[in-house]
C-alpha cells in the first residue's frame, strides 16, 4: 500500500520499532460471571496518540476503558501505563481521568466547583485552584457560566464542562466514553474538531470509545476495531477503510461490495478471480494466495464506475440492470443487479448539476473498476 498513513505526517510511533508504548493491554481478559466481555486482548497505545476504540454496543470497548480507569479489574492479564502495572491501584490513585458518556456532572455543584473538584482532592492550594479553573473555563469558552449549576446549561455546554473537569488535573491519559454521543449532529461535528485541537494543544494521550465510525475516522490517529471482546484490526483510519484486514472490518466501516470466489489464475502482476456466481475479476497481486483458494474480493461503492455503455478501456466490466437509485444530493447511489444475480452498489459524485449519462430504473448498465480498486480478503 502506498502512503496509507497518518494524517499527522510526522506522527507515527507505531511504525517505529524503538518507540516505547505508553499504554499496554497484555493478554487482558475480563469476565462478568459467564460472560466474557474482553477476551485475551493485547493492544498498545503511544504517548500523545489520539486512539479510538470502535465497535458496536456490547463489544467490550467500554469495559476496556473502565479497566484503564480502574473501575474494573481484569480477570487475567495486565495493563501497563508508562511501564507501571496498574493492577490493584484504585481509580482515585490513577493518573488517568475520564469523561463520562452521561457527563456525570455533580448536580449540586456549580460549574466552577465541578472543575475544581479533582484539584481539591489533590490538596492543591486555593489560589492555584482558582487560576487553573479560570484557565479551564477559558479553554472551553465558558467563562461567564462559572457560577451556574449543571441543569442551567445546554447539552453542548455540559459537555464542555465535563471536558474541562476531566482535563483540569492534567492527566497523563484522558479517557472519553462516547464523548459526543448526546449531542446533535451539527454540534457533534464542530466538537470533533475542538477535541482534536485540544488534544494537540495540551499534548495529552486520548483514548476515546465510540460506536460512530465517522467520529473515529475524523478524530483518531489510529482506530482499534473491537468485536466480541477481541481486536479485529488496529490501523490508521485510511488503512482501516482502504485496506481492511477482514470481511468484518470491511463491512463494519463504510459500505462495501463483496464478491465471493476462488483464485483462478496467478500471473506475475495480477490474479484472476472466478466469482462464485460467474463473474471474472482481475486484481493486482496484494495477498499471497495460492490458486484455488477461497477468497473474497471487497470493493467500495465509490470506486465502481457505472455507465450505460461498456467502457472500452476497462479491465473489469460487468453487465446488469439498474435496480434502485438513491439521489442524496452530493452523490447518487445505484444498486445494480448483475446478470449473474449479484447486487452491486455503486456511488457517483454529482460533480455536475445535470448528469451526463443519465440512468433510470431497469436500464441496462455496466459497472467497471480498476484492478487496484479493491482488496482481496482471506478472512
Amino acid at each position: 500500500m502506498k502512503s496509507l498513513g497518518s494524517i499527522r505526517r510526522d506522527f507515527a510511533p507505531w511504525n517505529d520499532p524503538n518507540a516505547k508504548p505508553y499504554i499496554q493491554f497484555d493478554n487482558v481478559t475480563k469476565k462478568f460471571g459467564d460472560f466474557t466481555a474482553v477476551n485475551n486482548l493485547s493492544l498498545t497505545i503511544f504517548e500523545r496518540e489520539f486512539f479510538a476504540l470502535l465497535g458496536a454496543s456490547g463489544c467490550g470497548k467500554s469495559t476496556l476503558l473502565r479497566m484503564l480507569a480502574g473501575f474494573e479489574e481484569p480477570t487475567a492479564g495486565r495493563i501497563l501505563l508508562d511501564g507501571q502495572d496498574l493492577r490493584g491501584i484504585p481509580p482515585y490513585r490513577r493518573p488517568v481521568n475520564m469523561m463520562f458518556q452521561s457527563y456525570a456532572l455533580f448536580p449540586h455543584m456549580t460549574v466552577e466547583n465541578n472543575i475544581a473538584f479533582g484539584l481539591k482532592q489533590d490538596g492543591m492550594p486555593k489560589p492555584e485552584i482558582a487560576s487553573r479553573v479560570a484557565e479551564m473555563l477559558k479553554l472551553v469558552k465558558l467563562e461567564q457560566f462559572a457560577k451556574r449549576k449543571p441543569h442551567q446549561l445546554s447539552g453542548g455546554q455540559r459537555q464542555r464542562v465535563a471536558l474541562a473537569r476531566s482535563v483540569a488535573k492534567r492527566p497523563k491519559v484522558l479517557l472519553l466514553d462516547e464523548p459526543l454521543g448526546a449531542l446533535d449532529k451539527k454540534l457533534r461535528e464542530e466538537t470533533q474538531f475542538e477535541l482534536m485541537d485540544l488534544q494537540q494543544n495540551l499534548g495529552l494521550t486520548f483514548v476515546v470509545v465510540t460506536h460512530d465510525q465517522e467520529e473515529a475516522m475524523t478524530m483518531a490517529d489510529r482506530i482499534a476495531i473491537i468485536d466480541k471482546g477481541e481486536v479485529m484490526q488496529v490501523a490508521t483510519p485510511a488503512e482501516v477503510y482502504e485496506a481492511p484486514s477482514s470481511r468484518f472490518v470491511a463491512h463494519f466501516v463504510g459500505n462495501v461490495n463483496m464478491f465471493e470466489g476462488k483464485v483462478a489464475e496467478r500471473t506475475a502482476k495480477t490474479t484472476r478471480i472466478a466469482g462464485a456466481t460467474g463473474a471474472q475479476i482481475v486484481v493486482d497481486n496484494a495477498v499471497d494466495t495460492a490458486a484455488g483458494a477461497d477468497i473474497v474480493f471487497a470493493i467500495r461503492p465509490e470506486k465502481i464506475r457505472i455507465s450505460s455503455k461498456k467502457p472500452a478501456d476497462a479491465v473489469n466490466a460487468l453487465e446488469g440492470e439498474v435496480y434502485d437509485i438513491a439521489y442524496l444530493g452530493d452523490m447518487t447511489v445505484y444498486h445494480v443487479r448483475l446478470d449473474d444475480g449479484q447486487m452491486v452498489r455503486a456511488s457517483t459524485m454529482n460533480a455536475a448539476r445535470i448528469a451526463e449519462d443519465p440512468l433510470s430504473w431497469n436500464d441496462r448498465a455496466w459497472v467497471s473498476f480498476r484492478p487496484d480498486a479493491g482488496v482481496v480478503l482471506t478472512r
Binding site: 456525570a104 455533580f106 489533590d122
Partner: protein, 272 residues
Amino acid sequence: MNATWSRFNITSIVLGFAFLYLPIVLLIVFSFNESKLVTVWGGFSTKWYVSLFHNQGLMDATWVTARVGLISATVATVLGTLAALTLTRYTRFKGRVLFSGMVFAPLVMPEVITGLSLLLLFVAVGLDRGFLTVTLAHITLTMCFVAVVVQSRLITFDRSLEEAAMDLGATPVKTFFQITLPVIMPAIVSGWMLAFTLSLDDLVIASFTSGPGATTLPMKIYSQVRLGVTPEINAACTILIAVVAIGVVIASLANKRREVQRQLDEQAAQRG
C-alpha cells in the same frame, strides 16, 4: 398516561377527595363549636383551645411526643439510610434475603404484633418501660419507612457520578460524603419527615412500649376519646393536623418552586 380528562375521571376524583377530606374538615369545624355537644352547632367559639392549653396532662404528653419524635426520627434516618444503601449497593451478601425481609415486613406488620414483641424484648432484657423504650420502638418501626424512601431514590441514582468523583481522586469515603449524600439529601429529608410524623401518630406501639411518665399525645387522646367525644379533643386534633399539614405543604411548595425554577433554568439553557 395522557389523554382527555373525562367527566367520569373528574367525578371520581372529586368524590374521592370529598371522602378523604370531609371528616377532617368537619372535625376542624366542630372544634370551634360553642356547645359541648360535638355534633350540634352552638355558635363559634375558641374556648376549647384556651382550655386545651390549661390541660397540663395534654401539654406534658405533647412534649414527650415531640422529643420521642425528634430523637427517633433522627436515629431512624441514619439507620434507614444505611439500610437503603445496603439494599441497593450490596446485592450479594450472606443473609440478604433475611435483611430485606426485616426491612419490608415492619411496613405491613400489624402494630399489635410489633408492639407486643418489642415490649416482651424490653422486659426480657430488663429495660424499664418509659421514654427510652418508646424511642427505641419508634426507631425500629420508622427506620424501615426511611429505608424504603431513600432506597427508591438510590435506585435511580446515577452511579457514574460516584465513579467520576473517584476518577478525579476522591476516596470512596470522601465520595460518599461529598457526592452521594448531598445528591440523595432531599430523599433523606423526606424520610426524616415521614419518620417524625409516624412517630407522632403512633398509638398502638407506644401503648405497649411506653411506661409511667412517658405518655405520648396519641395515648392521651385515645384515653380521652374512650371517655367520650369532646370539642377539646377536636381542638387538640385540629392543632396537630394544622402543624403537620403546614409542614407538609411548606415542604412540597418549596419542592415545587425548586422544580419550577429548575424547569425555567433548563428552558433558558436550551434557548441559549
